[in-house]
């Protein structure tokens, strides 16, 4: 266990952070933690991932033992079918891979996943294992743009905008309405205090598509999703990788997300992002993943500590990685990062 036994999960702290109010202690944020580090956090005896439900329970324990105030939860069933990834020895994949919709015929043949495939009751079932003070933050299996790219292929989609715009409109509508329905459902559960919309929108130097295109085909769905969350007294955060400067006002003022996750040193280092954004949105995580992988433990600790100090006055910063905690993160560096946020 990384956290002190006296430090108990407190979702109210996380809410205070999102609202820009003072928190009783530094708040931690991460979204995806790989199995190696989850196993380290919960111990060999508690690490059970043989079923989706056991994986959820293990994740709850891992996030609790690490010192987070929430546990992310993935409700499956809305996976949009893609072609098999056929290079098994390599753990990466291309955004051009997996294209299934290339024309109207393949669009008409495509088997769209139905929202009824999702067993949302798992939230309540897994919720019984939430420690007191902790809430779930559910997320969907990829976001609207990610799924569109996944089933059309990035370059195909780029060309389709000019070759068959109506087909592009239809693809986004099919995906957007389903993702919206997904969040409508998860928001109904008391165990859910906040939702996370995960959708990568940018490369290093610009958004994957023009901001106007995103405004037309992607953002309206998220605007409604966030609006619904707020209407129910809940919160909504965005995990979106890549360049964001031209769309940050959309994120803050149009879609009205309460927090943003994913920052990269090669795009905007979290220190700069915090200076630029913390007056209008909560900055979540942000210590660059590549830095965490390549720096020494002490360097990770020092940088994390400096961010905690820098945000002490204004708040609105949760310590965590810029992206995720994959298995190639050295455990000692993850511990160093967390230590900076856990020590009083």
């Amino acid at each position: 266990m990384l956290r002190d036994k006296l430090r108990q999960p407190d979702f109210n702290n996380f809410i205070a952070l999102l609202l820009g109010k003072p928190t009783s202690r530094p708040v931690l944020f991460d979204f995806i933690i790989g199995d190696k580090i989850m196993k380290y956090l919960v111990g060999e005896e508690n690490f059970k991932v043989d079923t989706e439900f056991n994986r959820m329970i293990t994740r709850i324990k891992a996030f609790d033992f690490a010192g987070y105030d929430f546990a992310p939860i993935l409700v499956r069933g809305l996976e949009f079918p893609r072609k098999e990834h056929n290079v098994t020895e390599v753990e990466t994949k291309s955004l051009n891979e997996g294209a299934m919709i290339v024309d109207w015929a393949s669009y008409n043949d495509y088997r769209w996943p139905e929202i009824t495939n999702c067993d949302f009751s798992i939230i309540a079932k897994a919720g019984k294992y939430l420690p007191e003070g902790m809430k779930f933050i559910p997320y969907s299996y990829d976001g609207i743009l990610e799924n569109a790219i996944g089933i059309v292929g990035y370059e195909n989609l780029c060309l389709m905008i000019y070759d068959d715009y109506q087909l592009v409109c239809n693809v986004f509508k099919q995906i957007g309405t389903r993702i919206e329905a997904f969040y409508d459902n998860v928001l109904l559960y008391d165990e859910v205090g906040c939702i996370l919309c995960n959708d990568d929108w940018g490369f290093n130097t610009q958004t994957m598509f023009s901001p106007d295109f995103l405004r037309e085909h992607v953002f309206p769905y998220y605007r409604r999703i966030v609006e619904k969350a707020h209407r129910l007294g809940k919160y909504a955060i965005l995990h979106s990788c890549g360049y964001y400067r031209e769309i940050i006002d959309d994120i803050v003022y149009d879609m009205k997300f309460d927090g943003k996750h994913s920052f990269e040193d090669n795009i905007v280092p979290v220190e700069d992002a915090y200076r630029e954004l913390s007056d209008k949105i909560t900055v979540l995580g942000g210590i660059d993943l590549n830095f965490i992988v390549s720096a020494s433990s002490d360097e990770v600790y020092q940088r994390a500590k400096r961010m905690i100090e820098a945000s002490k006055l204004k708040g609105r910063f949760a310590l965590g990685t810029g992206n995720s905690v994959p298995d190639f993160v050295p455990i000692e560096n993850y511990i160093a990062l967390m230590k900076a946020g856990l020590e009083l």
Partner: protein, 212 residues
């Protein structure tokens, strides 16, 4: 006038118009060298500059590159016939362990847009494959892409393999990709690095014409 027209249609990605106007230009005895430089390359340069300033996005680059490719289908045989050579030959790939290809493809399009011939080795390419290709293809430039912090060391591996094979002095090496920085490029001994595809093509042209 017609060269400007071709450039404008290319920037809008209008393949049919580009092809038709190239035919007209050739029939009007405009030199294929001028058509290449003053319309196709010029048009792609405008797109590249706009891309750097985020005035256009990748879809617009792709349709312009497609129009250039289709235009080149008409122009290339005439260029070959007249003995007009590309300004250089580049070997491009994504390194071993990495299947990402968007950045690589974009750089390839931009390089071709600058009049550089490209041989694409694809993704997940082992250093031995690059060495073999350098021996057989004899490129002037080797461009290595990597998208992950776990795969970027593959760029170093290729540079080391080039040194071991006594080929390092024969090629310019450029590296790029999301986690790659200028400092990293320098540390592993690359000759060039750019943060975006359009800048990469400009740098490649500069390195090819002015040397490292």
């Amino acid at each position: 006038m017609i060269l400007e027209e071709i450039s404008k249609w290319l920037q809008r990605g209008k393949t049919g118009e580009v092809q038709a106007l190239i035919q007209t230009a050739l029939a009007g005895d405009i030199s294929p060298h001028d058509i290449l430089n003053e319309s196709l390359i010029k048009g792609m340069s405008v797109i590249g500059e706009k891309f750097k300033k985020n005035e256009v996005y990748i879809p617009e680059v792709l349709i312009a590159a497609r129009a250039m490719k289709m235009g080149m289908e008409i122009l290339k045989p005439v260029l070959i016939k007249q003995g007009i050579e590309p300004i250089g030959k580049a070997l491009i790939c994504t390194v071993k362990g990495d299947l990402h290809d968007i950045g690589k493809n974009l750089v390839k399009m931009m390089l071709e847009g600058q009049g550089i011939e490209c041989i694409d080795l694809g993704v997940n390419v082992a250093s031995a494959t690059v060495i073999e290709a350098v021996r057989t293809v004899k490129p002037d430039l080797v461009c290595l892409s990597a998208l992950l912090s776990t795969t970027m060391m593959g760029q170093k591996e290729v540079i080391e393999a080039l040194k071991a094979a006594n080929l390092r002095d024969q090629v310019i090496v450029m590296v790029g990709g999301a986690p790659v920085t200028a400092a990293f490029a320098e540390a592993i001994g690359a000759d060039g690095y750019s943060s975006d595809a359009a800048s990469a093509a400009v740098l490649a042209k500069q390195l090819l014409t002015e040397g490292v």
